[in-house]
Symmetry: C2
């Protein structure tokens, strides 16, 4: 089973190394192949997503991704910036369903800015669409009739795009507490009106799921006020970008949360929700747990190895329970030491 | 001095009544004229923003607005829904600069879901653009080449639109702690790239203001993690909608926070940031403070009566200090009793 390792920029290589050690310790017959991506790939090969990297991603059964983002590349033309690598992979591989679980790990109550009783109730998954919306519509700079510079980006969704992510949302809710909240801005946007109409149509196939609708501004409030009210949220690419980062911060531990991006065949790219954190790169201070837990999601969703996934998740929980903490969690363990704390409890 | 009172739907009339009492008690020579807006206007006159209401809004020196939104109108075609009234007023009167202060009122630490030390540090203003962005671009439903329904909305900003709101942001920062954070999604959106370029150009005129840039997903995280880091945020219509509601909830008191929408001549529409709350309408349970504080903002920003504004704000603080609390703040006072608690301390 070929796994593509795309470490990327900043702390990416450090956290990927620990996830690889954990996967190797489980002896699952995985074969790893590494390729550069993001700013690292731009420097090595002149493009954030070089053909060889994309080819590896296509050949592999699953992709374990670190992070991309490099301040030194911010001045490059858009097509050459590190972020284009992850956008390109999502689009080229049809990875339309982004699953972002958010929950507070026991023992990490202090890490959240929310009161412990509020943060402790968080146990949700955000299902974010990844292949459409204003991310991939026609965009550019033009000059208005009056001679002014104008930037534009077309937001749109068609019914097929909404339908497949709606199914992903309903199915995720079926496997959990049976409640799905669809988030949109239907009081202002036609894209959202279509979204809402189609989600309602799809709901007929899931009579046991309780479907609600919420405007995105209200959702951003409710995620602070009472995040425990949510089971599964399904939403578009842009709103999902904002709300899922907010939800993970509510859970207090940006360094703890994994994510999956799946295509129609459940092939997936797995990555921590945190970024490349250039400020602490190379110092061994990064928390590898989000990437280790992303590896667990990979075992569960793409490789069908649920018990191995359980073993990893339980080991992370046990390591935390034993007090293992990287600096982001208020501790002093290095990235490698945290990886070892998990390894020791597999 | 003519003030237009547009109470609107749900709890709107109840909270407007209290703000009017407070303004009348100050004996400022204001003349009030009332007109229906939103669902109430649709029922009375067949349109959420009838010509007579728009005319009053134009004639008046300033507008005090309650709230619009009515579940019974959700099935109407978009042009007739209550929300179109507020969007129409913003556009027709050129009210492009939305000022949304967020702070935790002393004594309300319990009302925030954030830890008291986190919430207590909130003292910020969000300056949101109100006349452009995906709100007002071309939008509609169409059929794709493959015969699929598709909804679309064009996001765009031109340099003139960004420049005037950037100035509003810088000036707001000048009057405060001198720090401005511009929020965009320039790593994905061309609209945001233009936004960022123009904000940087305008910054040359404000050498004493410290300008930073933040992606909107990160801003949503930072507003939870450490909202005290912000002084003034300037952002577009859509991101401002989401972030300002999030920020007010961080401050714990959706019933406490006012807002202003100003045009180039500092004529303004003033409204509480909360909505019409149909679930508690007509019960005398609404908190009138946000509307009373909106009246204070009106005195300060449009009517040039800063001391009168101070008197109102101090009276609200004093009433809270004395323990006056509506149900949303964990108390039992009615809307009118809360209004009286403020009146008694003018
Ligand atoms: C890096 C950026 C393009 C990306 C996004 O906006 O999707 C990131 O924020 C994410 O959420 O994965
Ligand atoms: C009612 C709605 C159209 C409006 C908006 O999105 O601007 C509201 O949410 C607001 O923030 O004032």
């Amino acid at each position: 089973t070929l796994i593509a390792l795309l470490p990327g920029d900043g702390i990416g290589p450090e956290v990927i190394a620990e996830a690889r050690r954990v996967l190797e310790a489980l002896d699952l017959g995985l074969v790893f192949e590494k390729a550069p991506v993001g700013g690292a790939a731009y420097r090595a090969a002149g493009h954030p997503l070089p053909p060889a990297t994309l080819d590896l991603a296509r050949r592999a059964e699953a992709i374990l991704f670190g992070a991309v983002g490099d301040p030194e590349c911010d001045r490059l033309e858009r097509a050459l910036r590190p972020e284009q690598a992850i956008l390109g992979l999502r689009k080229e591989l049809g990875l339309f369903a982004n699953l972002r679980p958010a929950r507070l790990f026991p023992g990490l109550e202090d890490a959240s800015a929310l009161k412990p009783e509020v943060a402790g109730a968080i146990d949700m998954v955000i299902v974010r669409e990844l292949n459409g919306d204003v991310y991939f519509g026609e965009k550019g700079m033009r000059t208005t009739a009056g001679g002014l510079r104008e930037g534009y980006d077309l937001m749109s969704y068609n019914e097929a795009e909404v339908r497949r992510i709606a199914h992903a949302g309903f199915r995720t809710a079926e496997a959990r507490r049976g409640r799905l909240c669809s988030v949109d801005k239907a009081n202002v946007l036609e894209t959202s009106q279509l979204w809402r109409d189609v989600v309602i149509e799809v709901s007929a196939e899931y009579p046991d799921i309780e479907l609600t609708h919420m405007y995105v501004d209200n959702a951003a409030m409710q995620l602070v006020r009472n995040p425990g009210q949510f089971d599964v949220i399904v939403t578009g690419n842009l709103f999902g970008d904002i709300l899922s980062d907010q939800a993970s911060m509510c859970a207090g531990s940006i360094g703890m949360l994994p994510s999956a991006a799946l295509n129609a065949e459940a092939k997936g790219l797995y990555e921590p929700i945190h970024g490349s954190a250039p400020d602490i790169a190379g110092q061994g201070r990064a928390n590898p747990c989000a990437t280790i837990l992303s590896a667990a999601m990979m075992l569960r969703h793409t490789l069908d190895r649920a018990e191995a996934a359980d073993r990893i998740e339980n080991a992370v929980t046990a390591a935390l329970k034993a007090g293992a903490r990287t600096p982001d969690l208020g501790g002093t363990l290095s990235t490698a030491a945290m990886g070892e704390a998990v390894l020791a409890r597999l």
